[in-house]
Every structure is written in structure tokens, then in C-alpha cells.
Symmetry: C2
Subunit: 197 residues, 2 copies
């Protein structure tokens, strides 16, 4: 006899598939669902099925959309393209409400150690866009880690012969932090990239 | 235009109803569901609907079950009844694989400040059990907080005239901890409840 009855154990197992959810958290979630009304539980279940059914990738930028082309690609200036690793990076940038251009989601970064080559991410699609659309600037916004930097450099090399300006998000001391606590690599980079006031 | 497209926003909203899940976590969960296969998502949705459809309360002890009477009540010794606040407390005790008696889930504790009176929790059902079944001992295992202690005392007073032995889980220094770090109330209690070696 297992400690959890079957329907509870099964839902706990499903919740455990979510990132960072262990057995204890899965139990709390399952018990919360038991206390939902039947309508609430149905709505929850439906939202899960619907996200799979309705969400697809924008045929232009690769971001999540419910249509063939996403709302950002439909409504914004295509002369500036911001290249990111994943759809969640688009969200992070959109939250700023600063950037008015469009995105290009690579769905990964070049990572030979894990078998990810340039052909495995959406670089070809980016080149096609640059050739087709009238792009004046490409902003590389991959993560500031080894793979992200290498991918940015790789793409920049491909794009420069096409006569397009390629930029990279600035590195440096985070605003509001203290010099004392900045790591050495970041501090050294901030010194090299110092700006005239 | 919202930052999240509708199906993602809706599922994030559903995930946010789970305990301790904020917007950021809900986003991570929703993105994980997008990456599931359609079968996986269907199984997840079904598990949510099924837990609501199949799980009910045991007509004897009040714990979760899929039948009228739970497996614990069906198969175990009814002469010792352990009284707990919630179904999750049954799980905590069952994990020990020590206790061979049955449970009685109160579904709450007396808490006048929040409008919970003795009539709002399953005390009447406990008295009926004691009268009907041949119970020799009732172990009060409510939480060691004000409401839990008060509820244990209240029930003990009701049960004693029925000639049943009422016990309470021991309080004291947690095993493996250090005296120095025990809170004063616990330490004082451990001193009062000291045992002869």
C-alpha cells in the first residue's frame, strides 16, 4: 500500500515534471487542486491542453504566437532586429517597454560540448531575414556566458560582410550594486568599456 | 498588447493559484508545458480533472480516499485512533511506518479568532466513533501551536468521561539538534517532561 492514493500520486508525479518541483512541493500543489472547485480544476486542465494546441512559433522571428506571424513582427519596425536565445528573453526585454524593433529567437546557442552546432539553431533564418528585409542594425542579446558570447561573435562575423551594423548589449557593473561586490571579470570589463562623461 | 500571448497568460494565471507560485515561477511552469509532448500535456490535464473526480473523504476517518472507506480504515487496528488536523498530517505519520492504528482527520482546529468553533470540525464524528467502535486510546496529534494545543485539550475533556485513554505527542528537543539553539518554550517543556533513565 503506497502512502498516497492513486489519483493524488499521479498528479504529484505530473507536477514533479515542472522545473524545481520536488515531491513535497508536488504534494502541496496536488492538495491545493483537491480544494479547488470542479470548474476551477476543469479550467486549469483546459489551459494546459490549450497552451499546447494554440501556441506555435512565429514564422518570422521564432517567438511564441497564436497566429502565423506574431504581434510584434506584425506591428513594429523591422529595421532593428534583436537576437535572443529563447522566447523568455523576449519577455525580459519587452518588460522594459524601451525597444521598438523586432526580435529573432535562436532557440539555443552554439554549444559544441553539448552537440549544438550553428545548424541546430535559427541562424540560417536570421541570414534570410537580413537578405530579405531592410535591416540596419542587429543587436546581439544572447546571455553573457561562454556559449552566448561565442554565438554572438559567430553571428557577427557572418553578418558584417552583409553590410549590417552588429551591436552587443553592454557589460558592466549592475546599477545599484557596489563595486566591492562585483566579480573580477565584470569589473575588468567595466574598466575596459569605460565611457567618457 | 499584453507581454504574454493569451494561452500562456491564461495558464500562468492558473499556475499562480498554487501555493507559493508567483508570476516568474508560473512563467517557467507554462514554458515547460509548451515543451511537453501533446500526450504529456493531455496526461497532466487529465490528472488534474481526475483528482477532483476521484478523491473524496473516507466516511469513517475523513482522510482522502477513492472509495467510501479508506485503505487504512479497512485494514488496520481500530482500537488506537490518532487525531490530526489535516490529511497531510496522516502522510507525515504514515511515512514513519511505525503507527499501526487508524486516524481521525478533524479538517481544522478550533480557532475562535478566525470563527472556527468546535462544531466546524469533525469532533462530533470522533465522539460517534468512540461510542461505536472499541477504542482504547486516542492520540492527539494536532500541531504544537496555540490552536492545536487548545483543540487537543478540548477533545481530551470530552473523551475522558467516556473512559478512553487520551494521550498527546511528546514535546521536547528535536533529535540531532543542539540545546543551545532550542527555543525557550521547547526547552522549558523538555525539562518539565524529563524522563527517568
Amino acid at each position: 500500500m503506497d502512502i498516497f492514493i492513486e489519483p493524488i500520486g499521479r498528479l504529484m508525479n505530473e507536477f514533479s515534471k515542472l522545473p524545481g518541483v520536488g515531491k513535497k512541493t508536488a504534494q502541496r500543489y496536488a492538495y491545493r487542486v483537491i480544494r479547488m472547485s470542479e470548474e476551477e480544476a476543469e479550467a486549469f486542465a483546459k489551459a494546459i491542453v490549450n497552451i499546447k494546441k494554440q501556441v506555435r512559433f512565429c514564422s518570422v522571428c521564432g517567438n511564441f504566437t497564436v497566429n502565423d506571424v506574431c504581434d510584434i513582427c506584425k506591428s513594429r519596425d523591422h529595421s532593428v532586429v534583436c537576437v535572443v536565445k529563447e522566447p523568455k528573453d523576449v519577455i525580459a526585454l519587452e518588460k522594459l517597454r524601451e525597444f521598438r524593433g523586432v526580435y529573432h529567437v535562436l532557440h539555443g546557442v552554439i554549444d559544441p560540448m553539448n552537440g549544438v552546432t550553428p545548424n541546430d539553431i535559427r541562424i540560417k533564418e536570421l541570414l534570410e531575414r537580413i537578405n530579405k528585409e531592410n535591416v540596419s542594425e542587429v543587436i546581439m542579446a544572447t546571455n553573457p556566458d561562454v556559449e552566448g558570447e561565442a554565438t554572438a561573435m559567430y553571428i557577427a562575423k557572418l553578418l558584417k560582410p552583409l553590410g549590417v551594423k552588429v551591436t552587443r548589449l553592454a557589460h558592466g557593473i549592475p546599477i545599484g550594486s557596489e563595486l566591492e561586490y562585483a566579480d573580477e571579470v565584470t569589473l575588468a570589463r567595466a574598466l575596459i568599456d569605460r565611457k567618457e562623461l
